[in-house]
């Protein structure tokens, strides 16, 4: 079974971001970019399935600017077999990504697509679900456990107050949650080997997918600054403030 792992290049989780001066976007010029951490978990899981003899090949795909190829190389260094890059400078929204992925799935015919539950830059949490719908496949979202059986995959999902276990018919789409695994560190020799692994590049037009954005971003603002606390003299003053200032009682 082939596994497809879509990965996204996002601003690194350690970078403190801020809106651009004109408030139309998040400032990321020269900021460190990395693989979306949830996607890293997806790559790790796919590699583990390959190491367990369940998967035969792990293909990673990333869409966007040229530098996405670096992100693909990172996944190849972890142990994925080959990469697919769809290059575009157009801002990609979840529906466009899902459509591009469907085109890749049609070409590659994987038995399983594993991807992060959301990307840490836009936190959309939509691509996996949209892809399952476009493919008309089953979906197991927020996975914290994956067990592949002959015709099915058993997915344990993180839900409010506990977990839920589903059995999906293969092929299926799975989105990963934080506790599924802890990704490995890439080793130096593997980073070298990754440079030689195959990486194909396409344009969206090659795949006949319309990626025109459909949502318009109106404004990006910083969260309001937290005001410093005050120490009140007595209970009466506290009640007064709660009633008249905070208006919560």
């Amino acid at each position: 079974m082939k596994i497809l792992v879509p990965i996204k290049r996002v601003v690194d989780y350690n970078v403190r971001v801020r809106p651009t001066t004109d408030h139309t976007a998040v400032e990321i010029s020269n900021a460190k970019m990395s693989m979306n951490p949830f996607d890293e978990i997806a790559v790790e899981e796919a590699i583990r399935l390959k190491e367990a003899g369940i998967a035969s090949e792990v293909v990673v795909a990333s869409f966007g600017v040229k530098q996405c190829q670096e992100t693909i190389r990172t996944a190849l260094a972890m142990g994925a077999d080959r990469g697919i890059h769809v290059e575009t400078d157009v801002e990609l929204q979840p529906l466009s990504v899902a459509k591009l992925l469907k085109a890749i799935v049609d070409k590659e015919n994987p038995g399983l697509v594993i991807l992060g539950k959301q990307a840490i830059d836009d936190d959309a949490n939509q691509t996996g679900q949209m892809l399952a719908s476009l493919l008309n496949w089953g979906q197991g979202t927020f996975a914290c456990g994956i067990k592949v059986e002959s015709e099915t995959v058993v997915v344990t999902r993180e839900i409010d107050g506990g977990t839920q276990t589903l059995s999906l018919k293969l092929p299926a789409v799975i989105t990963t949650d934080l506790r599924l695994n802890e990704p490995r560190y890439a080793k130096l020799p593997d980073i070298m080997k990754a440079k030689k692994k195959p990486l194909e590049s396409f344009n969206p037009e090659d795949l006949s997918v319309d990626i025109t954005p459909r949502l318009k971003l109106l404004e990006v603002t910083e969260p309001p600054k937290r005001e410093g606390g005050v120490i009140v003299d007595d209970v009466a003053a506290l009640l007064d403030k709660l009633r008249n200032e905070a208006k919560v009682i």
């Binding site: 690194d12 350690n14 970078v15 403190r16 801020r18 001066t21 400032e27 010029s29 020269n30 900021a31 460190k32 990395s34 802890e182 990704p183 490995r184 560190y185 080793k187 130096l188 020799p189 980073i191 070298m192």
Partner: protein
Amino acid sequence: MQREKMEYDVVIVGAGPAGLSTAIRLRQLAIENDLELTVCVLEKGSEVGAHILSGAVFEPRALNELIPDWKDKQAPLKTAVSEDEVYFLTSPDKAYKVPNLFVPKPMHNKDNYIVSLGNVCRWLAERAEELEVDIFPGFPAADVIIDEANVVRGVITNDMGIAADGKQKDNFEPGMELIGKYTIFAEGCRGHLGKRLTEHFKLDDNSDPQHYGLGIKELWEIPEAQHKPGLVIHGAGWPLNESGSTGGFFLYHLENNQVSVGLITDLNYSNPYVSPYLEFQRFKHHPQIKQYLKGGRRISYGARAITKGGYFSLPKMVMPGAIMVGCDAGTLNFAKIKGSHTAMKSGMLAAETVVEALSNGDEGGQTLTNYVERFNASWLHEELQSSRNFGPAIHKWGPYIGGAYNYIEQNWFAGKLPFDLHDNSKDHQQLKNKQQANKIDYPLADNSISFDLLSSVYLSSTNHEEDQRCHLKLSNADTPVTINLKDYDAPEQRYCPAGVYEIVTSEKGEEQMQINAQNCLHCKTCDIKDPTQNITWISPEGGGGPNYPNM
């Protein structure tokens, strides 16, 4: 432990200006001479540039030699210096503008550029990769391999995935041996391996003690009306002079309404109550500085120590199998307050020396004394030699008389006066006992020009994997309390620009030192300034440390 090995002709430690220039020059010469030569660069930061912090006014002399068509290749040297101003801040609200005529010549910046050195390094890394250099960000060199014959054979990268208690975690990945015919150490100021090599090979036996400064820098976005692209301001005086300390400040107007502002505190200061961080915060309130910052927003913060002893403090830079270059050795020109072009040149000379040796059939492991000859014959030597007295003059006589001496020596005699000034004091031995020192009453942050420490550290985007061994090692666990706290009121609480060191009271009511290693900015000040040299900085897990975007 049996470790995996990888072999290269040359292994370079550190992807800063020195290391990357070494790599580029090596590969250029290999291609010119049709020589097979493999080169790798290890970098502890999560990416190239992540740990680079500098002012920076950049002198393109070395770059012109290394990559003459850098303009066509879109090097990020975008803002040419248009105006040069020097001030003595005489009080919290007064400044004396030094007439251009009296500014020591090396401080003139015509033909230089205001840059983000981090971005210059990112660009250099791309050039190096085009020449097939393997760059490995996120892989610190943790140790040096020295064989039985006392020859440097390479380095070992960090073990990854070791918990705070020393146990191996599930994702444990042992470090690798990187073996090179030659290893070039380019770690920057106070490199932790450079320090070990200096001790091991007694490289500084014939040089003056090294001297350091701590540079703290912020990047601001300011209102367009206050922005003068190309304006470079330097100066000294207040606030450091209040405590009898020395140092200097800079304020550079870059592109995109950004200014880079910083204060360098010489680490030979004597009052243990000095806080370089708070000196910097109050400095920004001086009207000469505030006029540019007011109404702006701060977008980044960071700190880094500077090797500034200069010519007389330069150690021996060669040893069997290795060369030490750039600020790891101490090639910064303090008179110019610039180290990038000199670091680059020292790396290029190292590359030329290594290629010469290898193409003559050298198998590696030799002490390349040819490097010293090349160094002595280069403009780098001439430049450092002519400003040899600059730092010692200021240390000896202070910024006014020392500054006047420097003006006379540099402008009238072009650095060729027949005497040498030596400064044989050691920075870490200068602290006075707390009883003999005055406490300093620093003003509170106003949250528009000045800020508290933790909100600053936050802007450095620093982080370290939480569950790992502490990378700030104490030789003696009691010293922070029995000596540092008792005699100097724990100065590490104040000189650390990241709040790593904190005296806390335990449940039993005992005072103890808490080390918040996660905050560390890798500036190395603690390794330098600790009065008993009890703190040793070692490399944390790869990728840890700041993530500077444009510093």
